[in-house]
């Protein structure tokens, strides 16, 4: 008998089971929670347990429970928590507050009307202003659709390139700030027997976020990114994206990439970098916590912004990412969920998270603590950025994204030209445009 079909059905049945009927969840619009008033009853939190753990969430819950003895809070989590959340969403029995992690299709939850808009809560008073004012507005924007805020950001992931300062110092190298500097430095690195760059070939989004988008922005300005993410016809094979693709191709043809990178996973390529086989690697600000177990003695990582591609774009523009928290429509205690999250995102708690976990937060002023060394440069880059933006299409349109990833890999393997690569991106975008069933989103600045 066919195991696959069984497995698929078992999954499907598991998801359906326990659900009273197709309309049992999300049918009644809960009153918009504000996190104010009396707080009581059970409050269930489920959180993604990544490099930063869930201990700080548990600590916050314990503190909050002491303030509100009528509440009974439970916090659970694991590294693949989205797998537990998914069937509970289908069954109409989700947790009250959730941080489902990178494996959850957040925007599909929005499209399915499964998340509560949180604007009423954001407009409540906190200190001298509103709760909304305490967040970096750019980060909040990443969580909105049609003017409604369905998710709330927590920590920030800053994308860029990483290098080992000791290696650079020993060789007399300085981090390149422009593409021209990169070309010069890369030749020196090759002469010294080190590949200038490694990349995570099995996960092409590292390269797309660490080179393709920033360089397209640098050439064509942020509008090039906005148009592309909004699926404007011709945006993905516009001169800005073509030039960015050509720059990657040029580095590839010059032999700047560590041989074999297309076949490497993120940990493999990052390990090669830490072992000194490559001088730089594109990654997000989680790299240190991800690699600390395999960090060779004496090695360390330091951030540099992506070298500027010397066009009409903004050299300070920065690609960031947020992992949002959310309250499901079917939450049984949404008001307490919001109240707990308010507590977790208070300036004091946010600073505590920055200090203990070594990540930047979306709460304004939370970086005004003594930052760990690895965060100082990212924090400075965030502060100096006149424009911050995120890769939204990866979550909005996963099928189109998969084409981008396949295309860039084929270009790196020398099978297609930069022009063919961006044409393939545009063709995928055209397919998304034509797909009437696909929910469309919009990026604004």
């Amino acid at each position: 008998m066919n195991k696959t079909l069984l497995l698929a059905t078992a999954l499907a049945v598991g998801l359906i089971a326990g659900c009273g009927g197709p309309s049992s969840s999300g049918a009644t619009a809960s009153e918009a929670p504000t996190g104010e008033g009396e707080l009581k009853g059970d409050l269930e939190v489920m959180a993604f347990e990544g490099g930063y753990g869930i201990d700080m969430f548990q600590k916050a819950a314990t503190e909050f429970q002491e303030l509100h003895p009528d509440l009974k809070i439970s916090v659970s989590g694991n590294p693949r928590v989205w797998e537990q959340i998914r069937p509970r969403m289908v069954a109409g029995n989700p947790p009250d507050l959730m941080f489902p992690g990178w494996g959850m299709d957040h925007w599909a939850l929005v499209a399915e009307d499964q998340l509560l808009p949180l604007d009423a809560a954001l407009d409540t008073k906190v200190g001298d202003g509103t709760w909304r004012d305490t967040f970096d507005p750019n980060m909040l924007k990443l969580c909105q659709k049609d003017g409604k805020t369905y998710m709330l950001p927590y920590y920030i992931m800053v994308y860029g390139w990483w290098y080992d300062p000791a290696v650079f110092q020993k060789n007399g190298w300085t981090p390149p700030t422009t593409f021209s500097e990169l070309l010069v430095l890369g030749d020196k690195m090759k002469a010294a027997g080190v590949a200038p760059m490694a990349f995570q070939g099995q996960y092409p989004y590292y390269m797309i976020e660490g080179m393709f988008f920033p360089w397209a922005q640098g050439v064509g300005g942020i509008q090039a990114i906005v148009d592309a993410q909004n699926l404007k016809p011709g945006a993905w094979n516009s001169p800005a994206f073509l030039k960015a693709a050509q720059m990657i191709d040029e580095l590839n043809k010059k032999g700047f990439f560590l041989a074999g990178s297309t076949g490497m996973s993120h940990t493999e390529s990052q390990t090669q970098f830490l072992n000194g086989k490559a001088a730089m690697v594109p990654c997000g600000s989680w790299i240190e916590s991800e690699m600390k177990e395999v960090m060779p003695p004496g090695a360390s990582v330091q951030y540099m912004p992506v070298p500027f591609s010397e066009g009409s774009g903004d050299p300070t523009a920065l690609l960031i990412g947020v992992e949002p928290w959310m309250v499901p429509v079917a939450a049984k205690n949404p008001n307490a969920a919001v109240a707990l999250y308010k507590h977790m995102t208070s300036l004091e708690k946010a600073k505590e998270f920055v200090r203990t976990k070594g990540t930047l937060m979306t709460i304004k002023g939370s970086d005004e603590v003594e930052l760990p060394r690895v965060l100082q440069k990212p924090a400075e880059t965030v502060r100096n950025a006149k424009v911050v933006y995120a890769n939204l299409v990866r979550q909005w349109y996963p099928e189109m994204w998969k084409e981008f990833e396949g295309g860039i890999t084929s270009m790196l393997n020398g099978e297609i030209t930069p022009q063919q690569f961006v044409d393939r991106c545009e063709a995928a975008a055209e397919k998304a445009r034509q797909n009437k069933d696909l929910v469309k989103y919009e990026m604004s600045l």
Binding site: M1, N2, K3, T4, L5, L6, L7, A8, T9, A10, L11, A12, V13, L15, I16, C19, G21, P22, S23, S24, S25, G26, R86, M89, V90, A91, G92, G103, D105, A108, L109, A111, E112, D113, Q114, G201, Q202, Y203, A259, G260, S261, T262, G263, M264, S265, E268, Q272, K277, P398, E399, K402, E405, G406, G407, T409, S410, N413, E415, D437
Partner: protein, 294 residues
């Protein structure tokens, strides 16, 4: 009376198994066909009936065609090697010497190792800085080093090698049992008639292994068509879908793209392919050549 008592006895023994089979195999199968006619994200209970739309999409889906093609390639590449290797090793391990005993004790070893461990181990071997390339360099064969899992031409064959390593033990066991099952008098008669070596293999053994071959090929089809973990962990279907198989694509549609309805249609597609191939095998092996001659 006696007959009815016997029937009741048989039913009482069969009933639990039949009930379980119906509840956990047949009923979900029926439901899979049902789910495949819906558009459903698997994130809420909202399901939109779309009739045969999912199947129309599947028919035109280039990615599915690629995955199916890769599955079939894997079946041919790995299948031929597995059957040949298994037959050879099964012959070798028959004797009573210490080498044979040793081989008998280890050939099933890969089968007890978790698939995840197998995948990670082969990833190490095929890593551009890994064992295989290091070995090639040490042998002065630098020109042969490759990015095994990252190059279009090599990703799928590399997965096939890992698959062969993992799966071959089971088929050795099958063929070893099959060889044991060949009646002693047949071998003795062949011996007397002066048939040995390749001659005996092609004219006697190969034919007498008929039922084992049928089981082996059927199992191979099911094993290869249901490959998931190995590919997912070694290459994630890359580069650019060159090693994508049906199940990694199904996983992508269900869990990355949140197209559960369509993913169920893919599962039905996979089911049809496996059923079709299995029936084809039953047809090809429909008559026992030995019995037919008798």
């Amino acid at each position: 009376m006696r007959g009815r008592g016997r029937t009741a006895f048989i039913i009482s023994f069969l009933a639990p198994a039949v009930l379980f089979y119906a509840a956990f195999v047949l009923w979900p199968l029926v439901q899979a066909f049902q789910f495949s006619t819906y558009r459903w994200r698997g994130l809420s209970a909202r399901m939109t009936p779309v009739g045969t739309d999912n199947y129309r999409q599947l028919w035109e889906d280039q990615a599915f065609a690629t995955a199916l093609k890769n599955n079939l390639l894997l079946l041919v590449e790995a299948g031929v090697v597995i059957i040949a290797l298994a037959l050879m090793v099964a012959h070798v391990v028959r004797g009573k010497g210490p080498v044979q005993k040793f081989l008998r004790s280890i050939y099933l070893f890969p089968q007890v190792v978790s698939m995840v461990v197998v995948a990670v181990m082969w990833q190490f071997i095929f890593n551009p800085q890994g064992l295989l390339n290091a070995g090639l360099r040490a042998a002065g064969l630098d020109a042969l080093t490759r990015t095994w899992l990252g190059e279009s031409a090599w990703a799928l064959p590399s997965v096939a090698v890992a698959f062969v390593w993992y799966a071959v033990g089971f088929y050795i066991m099958l063929f070893a049992a099959g060889l044991e099952g060949i009646p002693q008098e047949v071998n003795e008669a062949a011996e007397l008639d002066g048939s040995k070596g390749w001659h005996r293999f092609w004219h006697i053994t190969w034919h007498l292994l008929w039922s084992v071959k049928r089981v082996a090929v059927t199992y191979l089809v099911i094993n290869v068509m249901n490959t998931f973990a190995l590919v997912y962990l070694m290459t994630r279907g890359g580069p650019d879908r060159r090693s994508e198989v049906m199940l990694t694509y199904l996983y992508e549609q269900a869990f990355v793209n949140s197209n559960f309805g369509y993913a169920t249609a893919l599962a039905v597609g996979n089911f049809v392919v496996v059923m079709g191939l299995s029936l084809l095998i039953l047809f090809l092996f429909r008559r026992n050549p030995v019995e037919a001659r008798a």
